[in-house]
Amino acid sequence: MKLAALAWRDVRRQFRSGLLLVMMLGAPLLLTGLIYFAFSSPSGTPEIATVTVAVADLDVPPAGAPLAAGRMLVAGLSRPELAPLLHIVTADSADAARAMVTRGDAGAALVIPADFSAAMLDEVPSATASLFTDPARPLGAGVARDVVQRALDTFSGSALAARLTAVHVTGPAASALAGRAAANFAMSATRAMRNRAVDVAMPQGDSPSFVTRMAAQVMGAMMIFFVFFTGAYGASSFLREQEEGTLARLYTTPTTTTTVLAGKFLGTAVTLLVQVAVLLSVSSLVFGIRWGRPLPVVLASAAMVLAAAGFGVLLVAFVRNSRQTGPMFGVVLTATGMIGGLMTSTFTSLPAGFELASRFTPQGWAMAAWRACLDGRGVASMALPLAVTLAIGATCLAVGVPIMRRRFSQGAVS
């Protein structure tokens, strides 16, 4: 009963703090809402600004080739139906295209290699069209990547069909037949691309919109960021109670240090679970975010809560008084949050080192677990981030609790 009383007292105190409520619930929802509504029309239909794509078409079709795949790809991307999404400008070289992105004149640069047509006709093993995007404009980069990728998929399908035709037709007419087949598929590919491109702009059926997917990434990141703040704040209640004199008073009652520590941890964990439940529910209702299957979501929540509470205990173990908590939490949690990728959750083309660095923070692993949930994956495929997040939480507690016990035990708080 004492354990429950201690936990309930902390939960009640935390939910009575207006400032903490803003941090726990208001800030993550507001930040996500700003992103969501900034890219949505008042009617709820996503409005995405036109992205300028600088195209360097370096394709040189083989002599006698029935199609110029690079030129067709550019023509397909320049169709009027895609005009609301893409504005295609041509560049003389790959460097010139990239320079336009660097200068901010374009949101993405598409470089079609010289052997693009040859690859489509299977005359070379493969060719890679590269898309160079601006990390500072993740939304535009995402749109450009989606449209170009689908166009390339269509071209690949056309080339495969052409190759199959060539394989099945033998004799002197084979080459000419293959050429016609490729041309026909390329023409149909343009139509297919147009239809698919519309899917990007106005998603139909069960597929979440681009803006909702982006809001989910932002919400996940902000939830993790502020859950870690709440965890640290919960642990810092030891310092506040010590300064208020209530911790010493607690130890004049027949209550053990273990009960006090456990009660406080339980109170923080309950607060965090309520915070997560509210954020998941409200973001689902307001932004239409689908967080994934129930069991993975529950496990990701539990792992994150343990990690946040444990990390908070570890931080507070090294803080001298409550005045130091603000700067300490601000610096450490912002830094680890940034390294963990919480501020760049929607960026699609970050350096590989950044992804690696995120794995050194509990927030990074928690984000990986939530990404798996958002991708609709099952427990088995998210076992690693779950296990690591839990292990980090347990390790933080294993280090922090003995220090807290020494600092805040009966006989040490007077």
């Binding site: 009383a5 007292r9 010493a248 130890y251 009652t253 027949p254 009966q410 007077s414």
Partner: protein
């Protein structure tokens, strides 16, 4: 009568500073015992050791027969800390419910106890209000109530009247007296000698960590042989003679020399009640008109001054 609190050779050092120095003390069951001493005398350190918040460097103490700091001792003890130790963002009632649960209470018994105590400390009508909306006096009263929830055998109050208005102070002193009358052992620390004098069955005077005197108020006063002080204000100077000469030779009365001016005389009497008639007769006979008389009985201030050479509030 058994002892509720027994302290034997209790000592505590903080570095080079001796906070409590080999204190021996016994407080009887039902007794209201005051520890009197200036700030820094070691009162709070001694209380903290009795409450189990500090480990003594030497000596031992028991509360209701249990070693200080043990679960049984803490269950038998109610501690009112010097500073208000309540949750400011919880209501008065929520605070009492919480502290009651920490003493193992619950259910209807706890709710009834809260009702009773809120009524006793005059906060029944404000019980739903958050503590941070209370005045200092109200917080002090609630601070006391939180220590009484489990009806402890021994209550320790550490300077509970510091920094509050006279009305709240009076109310707190009345609670303490009521508590004592109910049979609860009360250990009360203060640096106000009037409080110790007014409340206590016995008083211990603590200075620089040492218990320098112990006894009833009368016993303490007798220790230093202090007398009543009689201050006379004269209507006009006593003529050619020094004013104090008019009262020389009265039995049981000593004139303090030098006097405090031509129109004022201070006398020290073994017993002011018996000295006053002869004193007025002498004044009339010597034609020394008396405008006012102030009698001050010997007090703990003078005892402390006598024992330490310093005033209690130095």
């Amino acid at each position: 009568m058994r002892n509720a609190v027994v302290v034997t050779g209790l000592s505590k050092h903080f570095g080079e500073t001796v906070a409590v120095d080999a204190v021996d003390l016994e407080v009887r069951e039902g007794e209201l015992f005051s520890l009197l001493g200036p700030n820094g005398a070691g009162k709070t350190t001694l209380m903290s050791m009795l409450a189990g918040l500090l480990r003594p460097d030497a000596g031992r103490a028991t509360i209701a027969g249990h070693p200080a700091g043990s679960a049984a001792a803490r269950a038998a003890l109610g501690v009112v800390p010097q500073d208000v130790a309540l949750y400011p963002d919880l209501s008065a009632r929520e605070n009492l419910i919480f502290w009651g649960r920490m003493y193992g209470l619950g259910g209807n018994a706890l709710r009834r106890r809260c009702d009773d105590l809120l009524a006793i400390v005059g906060l029944a009508e404000r019980q739903r209000d958050r503590v941070d909306t209370f005045s200092g006096g109200m917080k002090r009263r609630l601070n006391i109530a939180a220590a009484l929830l489990h009806a402890p055998d021994v209550v320790m109050l550490d300077e509970p009247t510091v920094g509050i208005d006279p009305q709240s102070r009076r109310a707190i002193l009345d609670y303490v007296r009521t508590l004592s009358r109910s049979g609860t052992t009360v250990l009360y620390t203060t640096h106000y000698m009037e409080e110790a004098q007014e409340l206590s069955h016995r008083i211990g005077i603590l200075d620089k960590g040492r218990l320098i005197a112990l006894g009833t108020h009368e016993e303490l006063v007798r220790i230093v042989g202090e007398r009543d002080v009689i201050d006379l204000e004269l209507a006009s100077p006593a003529g050619a003679t020094e004013p104090h000469e008019a009262f020389d030779g009265l039995p049981g009365v000593r004139v303090e020399v030098p006097s405090r001016g031509d129109d004022h005389v201070r006398l020290l009497a073994d017993d002011s009640t018996t000295a006053l008639p002869s004193l007025f007769a002498r004044a009339a006979a010597r034609n020394v008109p008396v405008r006012s008389v102030v009698i001050t009985e010997p007090n703990l201030e003078s005892v402390f001054l006598q024992l330490t050479g310093r005033a209690l509030r130095d």
